[in-house]
Each structure stands twice: as C-alpha cells, then as structure tokens.
C-alpha cells in the first residue's frame, strides 16, 4: 500500500512485474536500471540462483518528481516465475500498487502465460484484491523472436475481458517499449489517486475474433483467461 510522508514530502508506490518463468521480467528491470539517470535510481538488487534465475525477487528503487511538491518513489519488484515459488510470489505481491504482466510472445509459452495470469488473479484474490482494482498493463515481450503469436491472438488469450488492459509490444532485450510500459502503469497508478480518477489512455477496441496462428498445433492453443 502506498503511503505519503508529509514531513519528508515523499510518496511511495510499489509496482510488481509478474509473469511466467523466463519471460523477461528481470531483463525489464535491468534495462531500466541501465538507462535511467543514476541520480534518480538506487541499486538493482537481485536475489537470484547461481544460474541467474530469480529466487526471491529483483528490486529497483526509482525517484521522480511527478506530483507538485512531492518526491515520488517507485519501487519496482519482479516475482520469481517458476511454478514452485508461488509462496514467494504471494509475499512480493503484498501491498502492491501497480502491476505489469509480462507475457512471453512465443507460441510454446502461451499456456504458461495463461497459467501465470490465472495465478496472478488467484494470488490477488487471496489478498481480497480484484485484478480490475489494481492499475495493470500487459507487456507482450520478445516481439523480436521468430516464433511468436500475433498480437490479436495474444489479446484474445490474455486480454479478452470486460475491462481491458492497456498492452504493449516489447523487446526487453533491446529496451523497445520498456519505458513506455513503465510510464503507462505509473500514470494509471497516479491517476487512480487523483481527484478526477480518470486515466488518460486510449482504450483499445475489443478483440472479438481470435486470429488463428499460422502453424498451430492443437496443444499450443490456450483457453482465454
């Protein structure tokens, strides 16, 4: 939960990058850490295994002046994507103010994407939070790889709901749209607390019909969330 300290004139927000294993959550944070002005960020802390798989979480603190008169501190976390670490994901999700769901665009990862999104919804529900109540954006990552699903298909699989989320095509390895994603979730989050509560975004048109994959196999298709 965010908190404002009038004495130090600071506001803190926690943003969590969520998604299946090896989808690029840590790569997002590493790119942001590498490219943000060092005066506006702290160290990137990574609690990883010897094989660089996230064991507990990655953490990156960022500072910005986006609200008149206050220093706004954004704390970026990733969760461990591996299925066995669900207890850790629940811990990291605690008091979260905003979410970036990172999906792997490769066909063979579609089922894992769906499972991970369901897991996110379940873990939020355990904290009595509905996904629609948390500022959240979708990141379709690895758009530079050859074996990827079309965006319309990913939208159908992951974003086919009444209240649709803003989504981004991202290549986290090169940084394309990494900042666009972070800025979008930050803006939605800030506007949640503004008196107008209106998020300045263009709501995408609903995707009614899924685009068929070019060379699908039946087991690769995933049911919509």
């Amino acid at each position: 939960m965010s908190i404002i300290n009038y004495a130090s004139r600071e506001i803190q927000f926690k943003i969590v990058y969520y998604g299946p294993a090896l989808c690029g959550k840590t790569t997002n944070l590493a790119y942001i850490h590498q490219r943000v002005n060092p005066q506006n960020r702290g160290d990137l802390v990574s609690l990883a295994t010897a094989a660089d798989r996230t064991l507990f979480f990655d953490f990156l603190p960022l500072n910005a002046v986006v609200i008149k008169g206050f220093v706004t501190k954004f704390q970026l976390y990733t969760v461990p994507g591996q299925v066995i670490y669900n207890a850790t994901r629940q811990l990291v999700l605690r008091s979260c103010d905003g979410l970036v769901f990172v999906a792997d665009s490769q066909w063979e990862k579609m089922e894992e994407n769906v499972e991970s999104f369901k897991n996110l919804v379940d873990n939020l529900a355990r904290q009595n939070v509905a996904i629609d109540d948390v500022p959240c954006v979708l990141e379709y990552n690895k758009r530079d790889l050859p074996n990827i699903a079309p965006i319309n298909y990913m939208e159908y699989v992951l974003n086919n709901r009444k209240k649709r989320l803003q989504s981004f095509e991202v290549m986290s390895s090169t940084g394309q749209n990494v900042f666009a994603t972070l800025n979008a979730v930050s803006q939605i989050l800030l506007h949640k607390f503004s008196k107008q509560s209106e998020v300045p975004q263009t709501t995408p048109a609903p995707v009614a019909i899924p685009v068929e994959p070019p060379t699908p196999t039946p087991e690769r298709r995933s049911a919509p969330v």
Binding site: I3, Y6, D43, S95, S186
Partner: protein, 155 residues
C-alpha cells in the same frame, strides 16, 4: 475516489519521539519501521551508510520468508529475528499485522538490551499507527498536479 494514507508532520514527530527514545535507551544506531510490503513508514538514526529503501525491501522479504518457516513448525510467525554479523547486527520484530520494526546496532550494545526496549517501542508504534488508521486521513491530488511528460526517460 482512492486516497493515499497520510503521515502528517505531527504523526512523524510522534513516531520520531518513540524511535529516538528507543535508540537512546538501547544504544542502537538505526531503527526503521516498515510495512510488510517493504515500504518505509518511518526511520530514525544514522542511515547515511545505506539505501534505506533497499534495506526495507530486503528486510520485509526476509521476515516474510521466515513466516513460512514458522508455519512449518506450527507457529503463525516468529515475532522477532536476530541476524548476527561481525561488527553490525540486525534485530527485527513484529509491530502489528501490517508492520515490522528493524533495528541496526553495533558493539556498543547487545541483542538483549535491544530486544528488551524494542518490545515497548513496538507497542508505542503500534498504538500510533492504530490511531492513524482510525483517523482515516487520506491524500488525493488534482490530475493537473501530475506531470503530463513521461515520468521516466530512456537516456
């Protein structure tokens, strides 16, 4: 409309009073009150040698992980944890269901003294935070106060 919980200048002064008194009695170097999500609520003492934000995130993670260990042996959680170093040590104790207090201390004192005084300090902090929750102060701002420019730039 959503609002952000507020610590007013007066609230911060009250917390500083409790934490300052605790540090003096326990002869510790730094104490930080955080929520269990890793957000810093208040701090008092010498924090010049570390990034308190990172410290809080890691401490919250460490405390949460040990809760799972506690459940394995039939406890709800461990109320207090002690990490012993060569020169600097850390003591963490539960304040309430949402809050943890972390104390860093060196060779000038010992864990028994820190632990003893932390109990009363934690109760005082819990009482202040409880009164804040009941007061229900919330902060909102105008959309025009939010910068329209991208918040973070890819430099």
């Amino acid at each position: 409309m959503n609002s952000i919980p507020v610590l007013t200048v007066k609230d911060v002064a009250m917390l500083d009073g409790v934490l300052g008194d605790f540090l003096k009695k326990a002869e510790a170097d730094l104490t930080v009150v955080i929520d269990r999500g890793g957000n810093v609520i208040s701090r008092f003492g010498d924090s010049s040698v570390m990034d308190v934000t990172i410290f809080a995130a890691l401490a919250a993670g460490s405390f949460a992980a040990t809760c799972e260990l506690a459940r394995r042996i039939g406890e709800i959680e461990f109320n207090a944890l002690y990490h012993q170093g060569n020169g600097s040590h850390m003591f963490m104790n539960s304040v309430d269901d949402d809050t943890i207090m972390i104390t860093v201390f060196g060779a000038d004192t010992n864990v028994g003294l820190v632990r003893y005084y932390s109990i009363a300090a934690a109760q005082s902090v819990a009482a202040i935070l409880k009164s804040l929750r009941h007061a229900g102060h919330g902060f909102t701002f105008d959309a025009s106060d939010i910068s329209a420019a991208p918040i973070f730039a890819d430099s």
